[in-house]
């Protein structure tokens, strides 16, 4: 049962990516009455489909000083406020024989100018620090890159927004913007799980829908010039590298390899795509080839490492308003006050930017919102730790699953039931997810299906890619509607395949065959499922 929604908010935030979640948090912390709406699950757009790189800013130092400065500042902030989402790996920028070594000095100089600690190190030392690095390297610079879990980071922002009184709805899609007397006064929502529609009103509506923000703006009758840029990535079956490895050259395709948890990710490509295709991005064989070939230049052992899956996100790049040709594209943060820009009061768009700068984006747009609402309270998101990252209280002896859960939920781990046979039974062996953690995710973290659960707990993200744990989890989550649970299982299988199909060779093909044998041959999931819908945005 959904609880009754209030009929008036100060702010409705559209979009449950990191920007929307961060904005909801900031607004709520300043005392605004907030509703966050997301049409699918949290972090299903670009937020969940990137490297998981906590940029030092070095990548932008040469080409985009402003972005570099923002990145390093946010990098240092997130290490503090989102400790449980960040792994402090450090990063290398390597120069290969085919690259221009002279670029290195420019790079270091520009990094320094932006306030990024960039330290030239001996290639021999680089090989010791990071044994996976291409041994042919002729130059190396160490920078404060790190890795970050975007799913966890988004969820922590949502949780904190809720702790500050915000309401948050997943699977609620904005299907219309309500305009009265030249002013946006609310949105029409559709519950995508049951089809119900209703109107919700607010003084301000903030469009934080990433690339889909273009369509949200359209509903409000305003035009934003956005350029969907597809970026494809590959996830490898184990963690080849312990430091982020970048190429020391102007940003290009497939030149960043990031260690994330037990895996590593190479990316990205960058191609303009039509907005209509953004709901179902698929990685092409050509992109796989490019990513693999370039990735092997960073770490040659990628060539013999199993690729778990391929996925793609869409960056919300935006053309400068003063350039009608749309050629001048900014990767910087863009806040559009539609009252000033289009004469449409009550409506603001926050876009552009990067996952790295989400907090800053949230701060900017919340500042504007507060100004409009006459709120004087200052932003505190840069200094207040997110839930899960508060100072740790050292406690009892932990089991494997409890340690794993602590890694995922930080201090929130204390809310997970444990210590009895039911709660401690293990659902996912690869990732150490217990029944208690699954139940915690279902009751507290807005989990409606197995794919949601994977984002919250990493169930099925390990090397087995959900071989057995998905089925166990479906059994644990299953209420009275077993048909829904079986359909969910079939959907999960479909979704896994979507990521595996572009890289179906080697061990991956063998694993795909095993999965098919178990799910279809042994269990007969496809016989029981009565819904073939593939949630194509779910990856």
């Amino acid at each position: 049962m959904e609880k009754e929604l209030s009929n008036h908010y100060d702010v409705i935030v559209i979009g449950g990516g990191i920007t929307g979640a961060g904005t909801a948090r900031d607004c709520a912390m300043r005392g605004l009455k907030v509703l966050l709406v997301e049409r699918h699950d949290y972090s299903t757009g670009a937020t969940g489909r990137n490297h998981g790189l906590l940029h030092s800013g070095a990548r932008y130092a040469v080409t985009d000083h402003e972005s570099a400065v923002e990145c390093i500042a946010e990098n240092m902030t997130l290490r503090k406020i989102a400790r449980h989402c960040v792994e402090e790996t450090e990063g290398l920028f390597i120069t290969l024989p085919e690259d221009d070594i002279n670029f290195q000095s420019t790079f270091v100089q520009k990094c320094t100018e932006a306030g990024i600690r960039a330290e030239v190190i001996d290639p021999q030392l680089a090989k010791i620090m990071e044994p996976a690095v291409n041994p042919d390297l002729i130059g190396a610079v160490k920078v404060p890159d790190a890795s970050v879990d975007p799913f966890r980071l988004t969820m922590a922002n949502v949780l904190d927004a809720q702790l500050h009184g915000a309401e948050a709805l997943v699977y609620h899609e904005v299907i219309d913007i309500i305009i009265e007397q030249g002013r946006v006064v609310g949105v029409k929502l559709r519950n995508n799980l049951n089809g119900e529609e209703r109107n919700v009103h607010a003084t301000l509506t903030i469009n934080a829908a990433g690339i889909w923000g273009m369509l949200v703006a359209q509903m409000a009758g305003v035009k934003i010039n956005m350029f969907p840029a597809k970026g494809s990535l590959l996830i490898f079956g184990h963690r080849v590298n312990n430091m982020v490895i970048n190429r020391c050259r102007k940003p290009a395709n497939a030149d960043i390899l990031v260690p994330d948890d037990a895996v590593c990710v190479i990316g990205t490509t960058s191609d303009r795509v039509p907005i209509e295709t953004c709901d179902d991005m698929r990685v092409t064989p050509e992109e796989v080839e490019l990513l693999l070939a370039e990735g092997m230049k960073l770490a040659p052992s990628l060539g013999s490492t199993r690729i778990l899956r391929a996925y793609a996100g869409v960056r919300p790049l935006i053309a400068s308003d003063d350039d009608p040709t749309g050629r001048s594209i900014s990767r910087g943060i863009v806040t559009l006050d539609h009252e000033k820009r289009d004469g449409l009061a009550g409506f603001i768009t926050i876009t552009g930017g990067k996952m790295m700068t989400y907090r800053l984006m949230a701060e900017e747009v919340t500042n504007l919102a507060c100004e409009k609402l006459g709120i004087a309270k200052q932003c505190e998101t840069a200094t207040t730790p997110l839930p899960g990252s508060e100072p740790k209280v050292e406690t009892k002896k932990y089991s494997f699953a409890q340690k794993a859960a602590e890694g995922r939920h930080g201090t929130l781990n204390a809310s997970i039931d444990s210590g009895d046979v039911t709660s401690d039974a293990l659902v996912c062996e690869c990732e150490g997810v217990s029944v208690g953690e699954v139940r915690y995710a279902v009751t507290k973290l807005h989990v409606h299906n197995l794919i949601n659960l994977r984002r919250r707990t990493r169930v099925g993200m390990g090397t087995c890619q959900g071989e057995l744990c998905a089925c166990r989890a479906a059994g644990v989550m299953c209420g009275d509607d077993t048909q829904k649970a079986i359909n969910d299982l079939a959907g999960f299988m479909n979704e896994r395949w979507k990521g595996m199909q572009p890289v179906a060779w080697g061990d991956n093909l063998a694993e795909a065959q095993l999965t098919a044998r178990i799910y279809q041959g042994v269990l007969g999931v496809d016989r029981l499922a009565n819904e073939r819908r593939v949630e194509c945005y779910e990856i």
């Binding site: 059994g475 199909q501 060779w505 178990i518």
Partner: protein
């Protein structure tokens, strides 16, 4: 290569210790041949559960009641088309299992239905004694079933099983038992899996205790008790004994993998093979064939350093991709042990797999190329003494047709006859 190579000589060397390799090994050993079998140790039998399929579905996905009739209509690429007499070989297969201590219900003339761990009914050919088997999916044989699980054992999803049976008009009550002896397993939650539970029950002789628990939670009014198949890892005796201790007729339903009946099937077949005098090289794999024209003289393995296994005939039964009998690298598919020809269907990687996972995936039909006598080929030349059997063969999709075990056993038996009749 180190020093001189010595040779060990056999009548037949079989490569692969799954259902197909073991079937061929047993059949050849029963015929008095001196057989060696090289096995990597893993077998997909561990996933297969308590039933063996012959042909469950036609190419359009319809369930089949009479598999033999449908086999006649299969397309020419299907391995069954290389069998002289499917019906007779199916009978031989059943007897081979029987002699290995694996009593089964079912015949090739008519499929029956097994209950899957999530409550689907699927057509099958032979089901191991003790496992639930249903003659007609539209006429469930039970009115009221007690589904009894072990507390917090997650690999027996009772909600799905109950829903599957209720859908078919059966009244189902879900019960659970708890034994203090499982506490040891729960200390480490990864241990709470079917094969470990089986060991605990069998080693501590908990049958009577377990049965008492089941009887007390079940009570009156049921005409069937269904239990997770967590018994009978080494032999079926204890599993059957437990069923007899329960006051109501009782059967097992398979769990999520690993499958205890599957593990038992593999170990009993292996024991049978060794009891017949077969030599079993386990944890090893063939890495190279030594050829003399169209004749395979011997094979080298990873572990038998300096020793070549020589034989008059060889059988390749290494399975499909999942068993590494086939390997797909970036842009081609090959057979890694002996380098024989593969029917890769002339596809490039882009067409190996389609986007919809529920469609028939083209890669599933890839396998080694054989002539009508199941001889392998190298560079198009038929190898006179090298045969292939089982899932390594090309031309069928066992997930869509539900014919995996049948292909494994029957092609192995045909190869056996081809060798014996040379």
């Amino acid at each position: 290569m180190k020093g001189e190579w010595s040779a060990m000589r056999f009548d037949i060397v079989i490569i692969g210790g799954g259902l197909s390799g073991l079937t061929a090994g047993i059949a050849l050993a029963e015929a008095g041949k001196d057989v060696a079998l090289v096995s990597a140790g893993q077998s997909t039998l561990h996933f297969m559960g308590g039933s063996l399929d012959l042909l469950g579905s036609d190419e359009r996905g319809n369930d089949l009641f009479k598999p033999l009739d449908a086999i006649a209509k299969l397309n020419e690429k299907h391995p069954y088309k290389k069998l002289e007499d499917v019906s007779r070989l199916a009978g031989v297969a059943k007897q081979i299992l029987e002699r290995a201590g694996l009593a089964t219900t079912g015949y090739a003339t008519a499929n029956h239905w097994r209950i899957t761990p999530i409550g689907a009914l699927m057509p099958t050919w032979l089901t191991l004694e003790g496992m639930a088997a249903i003659d007609d999916p539209d006429k469930m044989p039970w009115r009221k079933v007690a589904l009894v699980n072990i507390v917090n054992y997650l690999d027996f999803p009772t909600k799905f099983l109950a829903a599957g049976m209720r859908e078919r008009g059966v009244e189902v009550d879900v019960k659970a038992v708890i034994l203090p002896e499982f506490q040891q397993l729960r200390q480490s939650p990864t241990e709470m899996r079917s094969t470990n539970i089986a060991k605990v029950i069998e080693q501590n002789d908990l049958l009577v205790k377990f049965a008492d628990q089941v009887n007390s939670v079940v009570g009156e009014g049921y005409d069937m008790v269904l239990l997770p198949s967590v018994l009978g890892i080494s032999s079926n005796e204890k599993a059957m004994q437990l069923l007899r201790l329960i006051n109501v007729p009782a059967s097992y339903v398979d769990t999520l993998p690993p499958s205890v009946p599957g593990v038992r099937m593999q170990s009993q077949l292996r024991r049978r093979f060794m009891a017949l005098g077969g030599s079993f090289f386990t944890g090893d794999q063939v890495i190279e064939g030594i050829y003399d024209g169209n004749n395979l003289k011997g094979v080298k393995t990873a572990k038998l350093d300096g020793t070549v296994l020589e034989a008059d005939n060889f059988v390749l039964a290494t399975g499909s991709f999942v068993s590494r009998g086939l390997v797909a690298d970036y842009n081609h598919v090959y057979e890694p042990a002996l380098g024989v020809d593969v029917d890769d269907l002339g596809l490039d990687r882009k067409t190996w797999a389609t986007v919809d996972v529920t469609e028939a995936q083209p890669y599933m039909e890839m396998g080694v190329a054989t002539d009508h006598k199941l001889h392998c080929k190298r560079s198009g030349n038929v190898m006179s003494n090298l045969y292939a059997a089982g899932s390594v063969l090309s031309g069928h999709n066992s997930i869509k047709l539900l014919d995996g075990a049948g292909v494994d056993m029957l092609t192995a038996l045909q190869v056996t006859e081809n060798i014996l009749n040379q």
